[in-house]
């Protein structure tokens, strides 16, 4: 008899009192056994807490200047010191965390919605729709991210600001003086624009691969509708890699936002962002290293945390590939 060795030798003896373990629960247990991932998770949760409850945590107003206390080194009164305008650096870092999280969450959410919708449809329907979506992702990904964002900012910021100004003069509605909205819109928009293609590709590949799996054929043989096959078979099985990708993507979005703010094409002062704080701190780091160290350390911590968490999720959700 010809025998294929595809049967794995491990036959799990079932013990009656052992509760059944779903793949999600199994993955969660695997994640908790990974110390780096747990550390990442704890830091991410802490940073999220700081971002959400920032206004109640800051010892000072992040904008109020104290010109008598400029460029102070860290002390009990100012744990991270003060900057060149006498603003409390800790408060600014906390607000920077808020900025980073808002940008990361909104950008990732928008990118995931666009990417998952387009990717799933491209993978499921194929044909010309697939070709157009893939062509769009290729095109977007072939333009250097930074260049695209700079071009968008440079070309749209002027007109947008002018429009806000004109609207303000026309209506005297104070909303139109808040140019920070233009900042956010341009940052969100341009970052979402460069962030969705990887999600689209990932989801498309997942759908393509799952569509051909025997359990989907088996579901078709049972006569199940396309909707049931998508919701019960394709989507739950495609979720794992997407979760990993989103976790890593949140970290990447924070770094991107900092990078753009650092270069002056992101969130603009006075709104604190880790990127523009690093940019400011870099000019004076030989004299006041804490102005650079504080935001840089927090950015590094956040990036590392998301990266550890992403790695841990990857190992937990795809145990076959990682061992």
């Amino acid at each position: 008899m010809s025998m294929q060795p595809s049967v794995q030798p491990m036959t799990v003896p079932l013990v009656d009192d052992e509760p059944p373990v779903s793949l999600w629960r199994d993955a969660w247990h695997r994640l908790l056994r990974n110390r780096l991932a747990v550390a990442g998770l704890v830091i991410v949760v802490l940073l999220a807490f700081v971002a959400v409850f920032g206004p109640w945590l800051t010892p000072y107003d992040f904008l109020s200047q104290d010109l008598n206390a400029r460029n102070q080194l860290p002390s009990l009164a100012h744990l991270f010191g003060t900057d060149d305008l006498g603003r409390d650096v800790l408060s600014r870092v906390i607000y920077g965390t808020r900025t980073a999280f808002v940008v990361a969450v909104v950008v990732t959410a928008v990118a995931v919605v666009i990417g998952v919708t387009l990717g799933a449809m491209a993978g499921f329907f194929g044909g010309w729709f697939d070709r157009i979506v893939m062509w769009l992702t290729d095109m977007t990904m072939s333009v250097p991210n930074l260049l695209l964002v700079v071009v968008i900012n440079a070309s749209l910021k002027g007109p947008a600001m002018a429009w806000m100004e004109a609207r303000y003069l026309e209506t005297l509605n104070p909303f139109y003086r808040e140019t920070v909205w233009v900042d956010f819109l341009l940052v969100f928009g341009s970052m979402a624009l460069i962030s969705w293609p990887p999600y689209a590709r990932l989801v498309r590949a997942q759908v393509l691969s799952i569509r051909g799996r025997p359990y989907v054929t088996a579901a078709r043989a049972l006569g199940l509708t396309n909707r049931l096959i998508l919701t019960r078979y394709v989507v739950p099985n495609a979720l794992g890699p997407l979760i990993v990708s989103v976790s890593a993507g949140l970290g990447t979005a924070m770094v991107l936002e900092s990078a753009f703010s650092f270069l002056g094409v992101g969130v603009n002062p006075p709104t604190p962002s880790w990127g523009n704080m690093i940019s400011d701190g870099l000019r004076v780091w030989q004299h006041y290293p804490h102005l650079l160290a504080a935001p840089a350390a927090v950015l590094g911590l956040a990036t590392a945390a998301f990266s550890f968490l992403g790695d841990g999720l990857n190992d937990a959700l795809n145990p076959k590939g990682s061992k």
Binding site: P20, A218, L222, G223, R232, P236, N237
Partner: protein, 331 residues
């Protein structure tokens, strides 16, 4: 058997896959997976299809169930040509025509419990109410030799044999008349294979099932089949009752295939005459003209290279497609 109306009648079934080659898919090519296949499946019988990998056995099963769209031809079931139906009109037939796949590790959705997997077709086809469901699932699991407590388990907690039992229970849940067993035991350990075969035979008795058993293991086929069909490169070469096929094979390919089966008795095994086929199976992208077997046939004649041999009955339902049969030794 001759007078009875078959449960399923396959008429001139053809399945060609169009593939696109070249960097821009500019070259179209056709894989002749299935060409002009004819056979009947009688109610309550086990019909086996054997042949080398890639000969179209599984494609036959998939096309017959309308899981692959047939290129042409008919599959008649209850007076309806099911391969012409769209998915919606196919649905009532899907319940009656089931399939068990080769690899039990990938045919169960890893995110669904055994109970959900077995219960899903019952609820979907409205064969029981939600209240009756746990009892129904427990009975089905019992039918395939699994304890009812397995309903709360996930596939990854089960062994290959156990998973295959779940897959069978799931097919049974639809209360089908006909099940395609697509290499349903090939991926299992030999000891488990025997268990699953016996399970399939028991279930056939109990529920009066009809099987299309797709396999490449002749020993198994000989054990369980009523009739056996031999396929080569997308065409049926020979089809006969088990006794006829194993004692009086007519097609040269069948003979070569049977001569490759080892004997258990070492003395007979020593003297066994093996007929070794030379060469490889030609590509189904460009199958040979005439008889598809002529490139490797030990008795190929001139006509074999030009004319496709007719699929004919040489007596008592023994079908064969070979120019040499009849001319040399009538069945």
């Amino acid at each position: 058997m001759a007078a009875a109306e078959p449960l399923i009648r396959v008429e001139n079934l053809v399945k060609h896959f169009v593939v696109r080659l070249g960097a821009f898919g500019e070259v179209g090519a056709t894989v002749h997976a299935l060409d002009d296949v004819n056979f009947d499946i009688m109610e309550g019988e086990t019909l086996s299809l054997v042949g080398e990998s890639g000969c179209g056995k599984s494609t036959t099963g998939f096309t017959l169930l309308n899981l692959h769209k047939a290129t042409s031809g008919k599959v008649m079931f209850e007076g309806e040509n099911i391969v012409s139906l769209d998915e919606k009109r196919m649905r009532p037939y899907r319940r009656q025509l089931q399939i068990v796949f080769q690899d039990p590790y990938s045919t169960l959705n890893p995110r669904m419990t055994v109970g959900e997997a077995v219960g899903e077709p019952i609820l979907f086809h409205r064969l029981a109410t939600k209240v009756e469901l746990p009892e129904r699932v427990a009975r089905l699991l019992g039918d395939v030799g699994l304890p009812a407590r397995f309903a709360s388990r996930y596939p990854h907690e089960l062994s290959g044999g156990q998973r295959q039992r779940v897959a069978i229970a799931r097919a049974l849940a639809c209360e089908p008349k006909f099940i395609v067993c697509d290499e349903a035991i090939s991926a299992l350990d030999v000891s488990i294979q025997a268990q699953i075969i016996n399970l399939l035979l028991d279930l056939q008795q109990k529920y009066r099932l009809t099987y299309l058993f797709i396999a490449h293991d002749l020993a198994v086929v000989r054990h369980i089949s009523d009739r056996v069909g031999v396929m080569y490169l997308g065409r049926l070469a020979e089809l006969a009752t088990r006794e006829q096929l194993f004692s009086n094979p007519l097609h040269p390919y069948t003979r070569a295939l049977l001569s490759a089966v080892p004997e258990a008795d070492p003395i007979i095994e020593k003297t066994r005459r093996r007929q070794i086929l030379t060469g490889d199976v030609p590509s189904p992208l460009d199958p040979p003209a005439g008889c598809r077997f002529h490139t490797r046939c030990p008795i190929a004649m001139d006509v074999c290279r030009r004319v496709v041999p007719e699929w004919r009955d040489v007596g008592a339902g023994h079908h064969v497609a070979c120019h040499a049969v009849g001319a040399v030794a009538p069945g």
